[in-house]
């Protein structure tokens, strides 16, 4: 892929002190006395949204799940939509880090770090929702296999139980992966730090990393292994999430196509979120020379590709429904496109299938702002995809007598907005205090990083 386009490193710093410049570019952000005003504005907004989140959750805990619009037959609604949405976002990070690493897509180095950060924060947001939306939110720990005086164990036949393990593992492994990647950069921060406390903090995080080659050797090995572990994990998480639906009997959920379809969608949405974050980030923090247009273009291409996969999945669902010969299945899909929730279906199509098509034109896919716009659209579209799957299927199942129409409440939206607050608060803190770009890796793949030893050709 990288070959197909201009070299993403063309824009990168050159000359004898290239490495120093890279270091400087990245580290400066964290060392600024005062971050740019943009950061403060963004952080202010994020914090206020986070407060909304807190209030909403408080009220939810006090009064009960009824503050949401959930009803019979739509027993799962926006909280689950949000859960799947965030888990989806949480894919691109590890994917970029792991899969692209295994595929030797060196250009990933520019973006993998905060893609990973994004993953972790997204998974945090995701993880909160299932806990919130249970009827007795003080008891979800019953889903964890902890020995208890009741001598009861959770049921491992339940997809929700698989979820607990899948999402839990994914979060843990992503965090390990992320942290490990940052160890050398913490070292850099430590060595550059002027204040004692910074030195202490980053020193502790770096754990005395001094870049010994013997350590580098094991480090790279471990990194490769983690990447190799994370890759199937990424694919598994959303597959397992899709099992929540696929293993159910409900028309519109009960589909074998779900795992690949969900994974494609997740990658799609994940990358969309990456560009949504990358474009402003490179703007604010002057990383244009590290996160280059070429990088964005590559991601645009991935968005286009995965977008079409998703589109294929949409059409395939219809085919399968027809091919299955099940009246209920057929009805569900007709109902999706032309029933009371048609508006959500067509929003989804417009955002996910139509909007990425602009990337066929080079002009568009090299314009950061167009990319940003499409990224946002796709995020919206992916949220609606989950809305369509969860809600339209539930609202009209087997018996017409139990059909209903779900309307979200104020609280549904405040919680969704609040979760964005949580996400961006964490993300902005990350931008402010942690190495946003994997410096060591960027350097490693820098043209002048190649040691062409004089007698090294045997």
């Amino acid at each position: 892929m990288a070959q197909a386009t201009m070299n993403p490193f063309d824009a990168a710093p050159k000359g004898p002190n290239a490495f120093a410049q890279i270091t400087d570019n990245v580290a400066r952000v964290a060392e600024l006395e005062k971050p740019p005003r943009g950061w403060y504005i963004a952080f202010g907004i994020a914090l206020s949204l986070l407060t909304v989140f807190g209030v909403s959750v408080g009220w939810l805990f006090w009064t009960g799940i009824g503050v949401f619009g959930n009803m019979n037959p739509v027993f799962w609604a926006m909280p689950i939509v949000n859960f799947v949405f965030w888990v989806g976002i949480g894919h691109a990070g590890t994917l970029i880090s792991a899969i692209l690493y295994l595929l030797r897509q060196n250009w990933r180095t520019a973006i993998n770090r905060f893609a990973e950060a994004m993953t972790i924060f997204a998974v945090i947001c995701a993880g909160i929702f299932p806990g919130l939306h249970v009827g007795r939110p003080w008891l979800p720990y019953w889903m964890f296999p902890v020995p208890n005086q009741m001598n009861m164990w959770p049921q491992f036949r339940s997809p929700l139980e698989w979820d607990i393990f899948a999402v839990g593992t994914y979060f843990t492994v992503s965090t390990l992966f992320w942290y490990m990647g940052m160890i050398p950069d913490f070292g850099t921060f430590r060595d550059r730090s002027t204040s004692k406390w910074r030195r202490l903090a980053y020193g502790a995080l770096a754990m005395g990393w001094r870049g010994s080659s013997r350590q580098w050797h094991r480090y790279e090995r471990a990194y490769l292994i983690l990447a190799a572990l994370a890759t199937p994990l990424v694919l598994s998480v959303h597959s397992v999430v899709s099992f929540d639906f696929a293993t159910a009997q409900l028309p519109g959920w009960h589909a074998t196509i779900f795992p690949p379809y969900f994974v494609a969608g997740a990658i799609f949405g994940g990358f969309a979120m990456v560009v949504t974050l990358a474009v402003p980030a490179r703007q604010f923090f002057g990383l244009k020379r590290i996160i280059t247009v070429a990088h964005l273009e590559l991601m645009a291409k991935i968005i286009l590709a995965t977008g079409m996969m998703v589109g294929y999945a949409y059409s395939m669902e219809f085919f399968v429904a027809w091919y299955s010969g099940s009246d209920y299945e057929m009805f569900t899909f007709v109902n999706r496109a032309f029933g009371p929730y048609a508006w959500s279906y067509w929003t989804m199509i417009a955002c996910n299938v139509i909007s990425p098509q602009v990337f066929w034109s080079k002009k568009m896919r090299t314009n950061p702002w167009v990319i940003l716009l499409v990224g946002v659209l796709v995020n919206i579209g992916m949220w609606f995809e989950r809305f369509v799957i969860v809600i339209t299927s539930l609202s009209r199942d087997f018996l017409p007598s139990s059909w209903g129409y779900y309307k979200p409440t104020l609280w549904d939206f405040s919680i969704l907005a609040g979760s964005f607050g949580l996400f961006f608060t964490l993300f902005l803190l990350f931008c402010r205090y942690l190495p946003m770009v994997a410096m060591a890796e960027v350097k490693a793949f820098h043209p002048s990083a190649h040691a062409h030893g004089d007698d090294d050709h045997h």
Binding site: F61, W62, T63, G64, I65, G66, V67, G69, N70, M71, N72, P73, V74, F75, W76, P130, V134, G135, R136, P137, W138, L139, P140, W142, M143, M152, P154, Q155, R157, S158, P159, L160, I164, T247, A248, Q249, L250, D327, Y328, F331, V334, N335, F338, G339, P340, L394, R396, D397, F398, L399, P400, S401, S402, W403, G404, Y405, Y406, K407, T409, L410
Partner: protein, 1019 residues
Amino acid sequence: MSQVKDQPEYWRSLAELENDPEFLATVEREFKVPLDEEPGSPARRRFLQVMGASFALAGLSGCRWKEDKMVDFAKRPQGLVPGEARRYATTMELGGVATGLLVTSYDGRPIKVEGNPAHPASLGACSVWHQASILELYDPDRSQAVLKDGQKAEWKDFEAAFKTELARLKSAGGKGLYLLSSPSSSPTLADLKKRVAEKYPAAKWLHYDPVAPGDEERAGTKLAFGKPHRAQLDCSKASVILSLDADFVGPAFPMGIANARAVAEGRNPDAPKMNRLYVVESAFSHAGSIADHRLALRSELVKAFAAALDAQVGAAAGAGDAGPAQPKPSAQFLADPKVAKFIEVVAKDLVANKGASLVVAGPQQPPEVHALAARLNGLLGNAGVTVSYAEEAEAPGFFDQLKELVSALAGGQVDTLVVIGENPVYTAPVDLDFAGAYAKAKNRIAITSYVDETAKASTWHVPLAHYLETWTDTRAWDGTIAIGQPLIAPLFGGKAASEIVALLTEDVAWAAKDLVRRTHKEAIQDDRKWQKLVQTGAAAPTKLTGAAPKLQPIAPVKLEGGEAGALDAPAGQLEALFTHCSKVYDGRWANNAWLQELPEPFTKLTWGNAALFAPATAAALGVTDGTPVRLSLGGQSIELPAMIAPGQAAGSVKVALGYGRTSAGIVGGHNGDVQPTSPVGASAYKLRSSKAYRFGSGLAVQGLGSPDKLATTQDVHAIDDVGRKGTDERVPMLVREANLEEYKKHPEFAKHVVHHPPLIQLWEPPVKYDGNKWGMAIDLAKCIGCNACVTACQAENNIAVVGIEAVKTGREMLWLRVDRYYSGKAAEAGVAWQPLPCQQCENAPCEQVCPVGATMHSSEGLNDMVYNRCIGTRYCANNCPYKVRRFNYFNYHLDKVGLTPWHGMENDRHRVKAMVFNPEVTVRARGVMEKCTFCVQRIQNTKIKAKNAKRAIKDQEIQTACQQTCPTAAIAFGNLNDKQSQVSKLSELGRAYQLLGELNNRPRVSYLARVKNPNPELV
């Protein structure tokens, strides 16, 4: 009552709140979410309470384990074993129609009402009204004190004051003394009435009930026989039945339950002969819902129809000495080929089944129709076979009695008026202006169970005891005497009607117990015999018998106004049809939350009434479901939401009475000073007049803007074309139906409606179910959609009431629902019922998805729900193909939201309410899933009994609540492993099928396909 004492404290926190900015802000924010509602509706109150509670930090006190004491009698009465249920026979009366009941008492508290198998009007079944009456008993809104001019007073004050007034009146021979009470069959009241007449010759005792049956029948039979009679049906002997606008299987009809049982038994397609049911009616009734042929006619057209039929039958059967047949009436609609054909075929069929046919006239139809029905039965030789006539005393109709009273009041002849158990200020037709006239009486004494509209307008009010609180006696429609035992001492110091009346006749205060005993003393001398009668609750030998009376010639019916009209009525001249509400009757149960939240059988509307239009009429008027409309009739008008009712006769608008109460209570709406709540629905009495009493034409309808959301439990969302198409496609798969001939040809047809691959198991089932294997069979051919099972389930299983907003949101709680599917074209639409409990699938989809194993399978095949283990992921409900699982979105039982450790017994209101709950069933808290369990508590009780007695459980020994109360015995429950059990036999039938069985869930409920017996000539 200490409740009154508690009130101030109960409200203090609120009072503080009223102007607390934070609180107001929260309310403000709340206005966006479904939790908030118009002031006073239940959820809103819950909300207020939680704010109060949270500010009062009541949580702190509640965060420790609560210890509970055990208290017992020092010397316990014989036979009263704590925790062991006992059954007492009693009887309940409604509009003079009595039903024998068997009430379950737990620790000396009544908790459940069932029918009394020994009573001919019950046969072990009962109606929603009986089932829900237990909730009224424990309604804290019931009147709790004697009131003088609205001020609290003592019983002895009233007694003294009343006595002095009586002394004064007695001297005048009772002149100016009036009593108004519900029509009653009670021998005790009859006896007292005699005594009153002796003691106060000039006094008048009148009866009124806005919807009670009987008036028109008495008048009609008088036309036919010269003397008033009452018709007693024996539907079991009838193979062809014609209903003239009569819901004779409905609960409000005399012996309706018995009729339903008989008709249902006659509709068994597996029996050699199956009866045929023709129904002519304006709005869908229970009878109409099971009819083989139904003709939708405006009520006002039925008279002409009857006359035309008489003409036909008279011609065919020969009038004999019963005078000439009716001349063919000249009504436009009779020209309609469909109607003509119908009349011809029906006449033919009736004549063909001479002596085995039956013609029933609706209680709301004018006397002529009853006369013609009687005549037809006579001509057809049915009298004495399928129907017998027992002579009745001459008595003016209830409406006329009320009119008489009003004129007396207006004429100032009424000095003292004692109103017992009725609410005329609310229920009187608007043009009588009862309220205005009432004020003219000097002493207005209201003996009512609530401080209702009439009590508010009275000088004295005395709480009337609930029928479960006092001794009563009734005579069923067939004359059977039943003694009503009290199940508990009056909770709020209420008095029995007989006790009040006894004040007039006796010098010392008499207890109802002694009054009832006195009445029957000479008939039953021996106390042991008396005890036996009390125990069984029904005495056989007192039946009324009637030799077939001689028919008299009936003058040709006169047709006026709309009565001779066309099939459809012009827009301004629509027919207004005022009926009792199948839930709150005439409004007396407006404060009964179970009934308010019960989905109306056809519209599935809860919490309110609506104006029902035929689809054609609605289209013509441009109104649809939920459109607010103004109904104007005779200068009066009310506003109601419109609803489209397939099967409704064109040009006829049905409005249920009994709503728009302004003094019912917190549930039904009241404008009192504590916790005022807005009325539920709108009062159709404001439209009802002497001219349009049962029904009348001249109704004008005006739409008022765009539709509002209605609180219905089915078709909650205006169904779009996609949805309607989908529904039409699948209904035949869900409710499988065939004609008798088809069924005889293909007895297995129901099994081949849905084609699916063979249903194989991937694995060995982990359990063999070789012990008890519980299963259910529901006969769709028998179900009349009366809802009794639904309320029985609610009463048995402590199912919460959620309130109108929650129902609108779609959070109804009823475990058992009766699905209603319309079929066919608008006016000729048919309707099919499908009671839907949990199907207890052997491969239950709900179980595998629960992460904590809160729902799992028992070794007897029950799909158990472990409330305490449930954390409320709601995944099970998503995966249930039948959507029979229900979720507690809030703490509905605690009537306050919030994370509260209290168990809802903080004040006496709660303590009163809590008494209605079945102690053997968990009262579910917030956040847990719940569902039908086949009444597992009943199963366990019987298993224990059988185990102690070291015997096997007998078939039919365990009855689920829905099964026990079903008037038509459409539900069978039992052990599928016992091949001799009723349920296995039914499940073996050819027409047995399993709903969505193709999903291989292996449901334990079998539905018996609906089989109709249409007349080939009409198909």
